[in-house]
């Protein structure tokens, strides 16, 4: 399955030919489907809803056994009678249709990825230079963009902390301005300070990581008490994690120092090339 796999669209139909739902039943049905990851349209005459596109469409309604026949349709279209079905059973009905139509499956990936605020971004390429995981790239006009959002490490907001303009958001982050809240002058000063801190640590966070890792290795070889050495290494990682709010599991899953250096070099080269190509 790929990102371009269309999602199943569910319509809760209560118009002509179907019995309306009590509002409590409507709420229970909507909640059950949303919690399974589906998009649900509740249609009514008071205002428009989005028109159909090529996505598969499932129309649920209390048709009392008189399910409408599917007329010729450009999109996979199905009707299902939900008379007497409990909300929990709706999920099964929709899941069956999703599977049969080959529509996208939801809920297996936490959507965690950076979102660039181009009102603030100055195209400085610090994020491209910083990210080890190839999340960022440039378009044909050498402007920064998020290209591989699925490469991003869940719950890690580190790149947003190196952005001098607070232009990188993670909408599911706990606090502002990274979560999309308005950026204040004091936020900007904090962001600048963070960059300065990384400069104080050697100008390159990955170089710092590499050195820490080498020091830890050296300690491992000298220490007889491996538990003590491990504790020291963990202490270093916890410090680093706290400074950038990087989840420990992300730090623990970093590749070898040599691989970090290689990726950091690659990212820096990409950023340099993009900066040089700017008018």
């Amino acid at each position: 399955m790929s990102l371009s796999t269309p999602s199943l669209r569910v319509v809760l139909y209560e118009g002509s030919g179907a019995q309306p739902l009590e509002s409590a039943d409507r709420y229970a049905a909507m909640s059950a489907l949303l919690e399974k990851g589906y998009a649900v349209t509740r249609s009514a005459a008071d205002r428009p809803v989005s028109p159909a596109d090529r996505s598969p469409l499932l129309v649920l309604g209390r048709f009392d056994g008189h399910v409408p026949e599917v007329a010729e349709s450009d999109v996979p279209l199905r009707f299902h009678d939900i008379t007497g079905l409990a909300p929990a059973q709706l999920g099964d009905v929709v899941e069956t249709t999703r599977s049969e139509t080959g529509a996208a499956k939801h809920g297996e990936w936490k959507p965690w990825f950076p979102v660039i605020d181009y009102d603030r971004c100055t195209n400085c390429m610090q994020c491209l230079s910083f990210c080890l995981f190839g999340v960022y790239g440039v378009d044909t006009e050498k402007r920064i963009q998020v290209q591989n959002n699925d490469n991003c490490k869940t719950n890690c907001p580190a790149c947003s902390r190196v952005c001098p303009e607070a232009a990188i958001m993670f909408p599911k982050y706990k606090a502002g301005p990274i979560n999309g809240d308005v950026v204040s002058e004091s936020d900007l000063q904090k962001e600048k300070m963070k960059v300065d801190i990384s400069a104080l640590l050697g100008g390159d966070v990955y170089e710092m990581l590499r050195l820490r890792s080498e020091k830890a290795k050296s300690r491992f070889s000298k220490e007889r008490d491996s538990d003590k050495a491990l504790a020291e290494r963990q202490k270093c990682l916890v410090k680093l994690a706290q400074a950038g709010d990087i989840p420990p599991e992300v730090l623990m899953s970093l590749p070898s120092p040599a691989e970090i250096a290689r990726r950091a070099g690659e990212a820096a080269a990409k950023a340099k090339a993009a900066l040089e190509a700017q008018p």
């Binding site: 790929s2 919690e35 509740r42 009514a44 959002n149």
Partner: protein, 142 residues
């Protein structure tokens, strides 16, 4: 002929706990009680990552009111999905900071108060993700 009422979009923010449950459930309940037409999505972030065509449908036609999170985040989530919202035709209610009553009252009101941030560039000017760069989110599962 009168203009149609703004369309309504509700985001359930399913894959994170950053929107208080009592707020998102309260807004959904009031929408269901009202009997109006609306579109509910499990998670706008996920749809943006997928570049779900539904976002283009939502951004393309008429006015829209969105119950989700911070307007700045919503503006650029749509943009990153290749579906920039019209600055003057979209109002975002923020369920991270507003109460369920405030959000429901605003979203059911016929008046539209556009509140997307207007910055130094327009959404139209900013670069969009390239189709070729779209990758499989499942590869991130480990």
């Amino acid at each position: 002929m009168t203009d149609p009422q703004p369309r309504i979009l509700y985001c359930h923010c399913q894959y994170a706990q950053v929107v208080p449950k009592e707020v998102k459930d309260g807004v959904l309940r009031k929408l269901c009680d009202s009997g109006v037409a609306f579109e509910a999505v499990a998670d706008l972030c996920e749809m943006s990552a997928r570049r779900d065509p539904a976002l283009q449908r939502l951004a393309a036609e008429g006015t829209v009111k969105i119950a989700a999170c911070f307007p700045r985040a919503v503006k650029w989530l749509f943009h990153q999905a290749g579906a920039p919202l019209p600055i003057t035709a979209a109002e975002v209610l923020n369920m991270r900071v507003q109460s369920a009553d405030e959000v429901a009252a605003a979203i059911l009101s016929p008046e539209l108060s556009p509140n997307l941030p207007v910055g130094k560039v327009t959404a139209k000017d900013a670069p969009l993700a390239e189709e070729s760069a779209i990758r499989n989110p499942q590869s991130a599962i480990s």
